[in-house]
């Protein structure tokens, strides 16, 4: 005699699911009973299908992890032997554990990129690579010899994550056109336009001491200090400019203006002024 168990089905879909599960069950005849009002959770308890032992129990400690996750795959709680918890803690307790945890499944994981896996990737790629030239050992040298860097991608990102910056976007790059543009810009930059002669002091990128008010003030002061020799004119000026203290003063003012003010530059300026004015 077939024994039957009553189930309450709230959705039609559930009927199908439970029917497929029941294929495992032995000698059961199920009757759909709309009127029976058993609790939905009662399903699981009386379902009695065999739930197998999770794979994690059978994993040896020194297994090859790259075989478990050879490529990007969603999180499988039964394949990851770690007691991870994730999510908002339930009241008076901790975060929910990994079994059927949607939070863990949603996020991207890097279980396929362990150091061992990456080593394997490197080993696989090695036959296709050549030796790094030993002379290029600093970034500066690389920039010097290879100033232009070209980045090409020959694939479209097809991962599950939408958040990946290269997802769904294809940049069309024409190498020849890029080279042409660079050449044009290089030659254009050497041309000098008429309006560049109107560059004012305010446009200058860096402070230059020549012909600045600072230089004028200093020469004024120095000539007044010497009191007499104003006839020399240009020669006197050159002579004054050649002095070491004046050069020091020039350096300190340039540093002050270009680098900004801090204790260091101000101290240097002070010393230079003292020397120039012979204090």
């Amino acid at each position: 005699m077939a024994s039957y168990s009553t189930k309450a089905f709230l959705i039609l879909g559930r009927i199908n699911i439970s029917r497929s599960r029941l294929q495992n069950a032995t000698n059961r005849a199920t009757y759909v009973s709309v009127l029976s009002m058993n609790s939905p959770t009662g399903n699981r308890a009386s379902c009695r299908y065999q739930v197998g032992v999770p794979r994690t129990e059978k994993m040896p400690v020194d297994q090859d992890w790259t075989a478990v996750y050879p490529s990007a795959a969603p999180f499988r709680p039964n394949a990851v032997p770690l007691p991870v918890r994730m999510g908002y803690p339930i009241k008076g307790g901790v975060a929910p554990d990994k079994k059927a945890n949607l939070e863990l499944i949603k996020i991207p994981n890097f279980l396929h990129l362990t150091p061992a896996a990456i080593k394997k990737h490197c080993e696989a790629l090695k036959p296709f690579c050549t030796e790094w030239p030993l002379a290029l050992d600093t970034d500066a040298k690389c920039d010097e010899h290879f100033p232009i860097k070209v980045q090409t991608t020959h694939f479209v990102s097809a991962g599950p994550s939408l958040r990946n910056p290269s997802a769904r976007i294809v940049h069309l790059k024409n190498y020849d056109y890029a080279m042409y543009l660079l050449t044009v810009l290089y030659h254009e930059s050497w041309k000098i336009e008429g309006w560049e002669a109107e560059k004012t002091v305010a446009d200058m990128e860096e402070y230059s001491w020549e012909n600045s008010p600072s230089q004028r003030n200093l020469l004024d002061t120095l000539t007044r200090m010497k009191v007499v020799e104003e006839e020399g004119g240009e020669e006197v000026r050159q002579q004054l400019l050649g002095q070491a203290e004046v050069q020091e003063y020039k350096d300190s003012v340039t540093r002050l203006k270009n680098e900004g003010e801090n204790e260091d530059t101000l101290l240097q300026y002070k010393e230079a002024v003292k020397k120039v004015l012979k204090l």
Partner: protein, 395 residues
């Protein structure tokens, strides 16, 4: 800042609670003070009261400025809180600090036939720049120099109640009230020189009033004080005369120009013309003349200035360095100058100030006499002189 305010309130409540039996406390404290610090009385007071003979050994110690000097030299130069302190303590004690000593040493060494050197005291708010300036001016005064002290240049570019169009140059504006006030104070400071110096030029004020060549400077100044309308021009004339005469070989005096808040000369002003447009400091007679003074085209003296962010307009609160406050134009005008940094109190100076307050019975709160109280004061004020003064006022 909020933490400081909170602790100040707490201290206030403590003070009020303790005020119930304050007199007995005071007496106890006085007895204690006299008993435990008799030999420390001289540690923070310097034996040298003459700025000329103060050396680096005296750094951190206080020296007293005689009351007569205060009345003549500083009718308008000292910070307000310090003036109140003088009244409270009945004496004017100035701490000898390294920046002022440095400038004084330069002043002693300079050759006065060369163009005037410019010194700029700079530092964070409340670190003692004005006091350093006053110390140096006191030195100059004791050496018999003529002191041209502009107490706060910021006051000339803001809150001006009366603005007249200048008769001399119609593009400029006069400030009669400020000018007369300054002339009055100038007269008090340099009484002795006014009868000795004679003018070299002739000045015409109105159709009927003029000042002849060779008349005394005192007359010029009196003219400015009595005829308020032309006072700004008088100020300009005085500055010009002094500038011209100080370098001459027959000059009887050396000139020290002291300006507090020199960054106001090249900053912005909040004074508005009648059509509500802002006045450029360039257009103010007083500022124009002061700028001319700042140039080093005269010799026989020195120009000592301070930068001040506290009274300045439209400058960020944390800026204190020369270029930040002077701006491009100011720097170009003042260059080359000697920047002198005025830092917060060092440990020794803080000790000295603390002992001074205790000696003057300014720190009444019993806990302020303990080591812990001292550490608290150090922490709260970060050894900034102004902050320390503000905090101790409550104790």
């Amino acid at each position: 800042m909020a933490l400081q305010r909170l602790s100040l309130r707490v201290r206030q409540t403590i003070n009020h609670a303790r005020a119930l039996h304050s007199t007995s406390f005071c007496q106890q404290q006085e007895a204690l003070a006299d008993h435990s610090y008799p030999d420390q009385f001289s540690i923070f007071r310097s034996p040298e009261h003459d700025p000329a003979s103060q050396t680096e050994n005296h750094i951190g110690q206080f020296y007293t400025v005689p009351a007569s000097h205060i009345h003549t030299l500083f009718p308008h130069g000292l910070p307000l809180r310090y003036q109140q302190q003088i009244k409270t303590f009945n004496e004017a004690c100035v701490m000898i600090r390294q920046p002022a000593l440095e400038v004084i040493s330069y002043l002693k060494q300079t050759d006065y036939n060369k163009p005037a050197l410019r010194y700029i005291f700079y530092g964070t708010n409340g670190s003692g720049k004005t006091m350093s300036l006053c110390h140096t001016i006191h030195f100059c005064y004791t050496q018999g120099w003529l002191v041209l002290h502009i107490p706060d240049a910021h006051r000339w570019v803001k809150n001006c109640k009366e603005l007249l169009q200048s008769s001399f140059n119609s593009a400029r504006f006069d400030q009669p009230l400020q000018a007369t006030e300054w002339l009055r104070n100038f007269r008090i400071t340099n009484e002795s020189f006014l009868t000795k110096i004679k003018t070299k030029h002739r000045y015409v004020w109105t159709k009927r009033e003029f000042t002849e060549e060779g008349s005394l400077l005192g007359e010029l100044v009196d003219q400015g004080i009595s005829r308020v309308k032309s006072s700004s021009d008088v100020v300009g004339a005085v500055m010009k005369e002094l500038r011209l005469q100080s370098g001459q070989s027959d000059a009887a005096f050396r000139l020290v120009v002291a300006v507090d808040g020199v960054n106001a000369l090249w900053g912005r002003s909040t004074i508005k013309k009648e059509d509500k447009t802002a006045v450029d400091p360039d257009e103010l007679t007083l500022i124009h003349n002061a700028r001319k003074l700042m140039k080093n085209d005269w010799n026989g003296g020195a120009i000592i200035t301070t930068l001040s962010q506290t009274g300045s307009l439209y400058s960020p609160k944390l800026s204190y360095r020369p270029q930040e406050l002077l701006g491009q134009r100011g720097f170009d005008c003042m260059d080359p100058f000697i920047p002198v940094s005025v830092p917060n109190y060092s440990e020794k100076e803080f000790e000295s100030c603390y002992l001074y307050y205790i000696d003057r019975h300014w720190l009444q709160h019993p806990q302020s006499h303990t080591e812990e109280g001292k550490k608290e004061l150090i922490f709260l004020s970060n050894r900034n002189p102004w902050m320390l003064d503000k905090i101790c006022a409550f104790l």
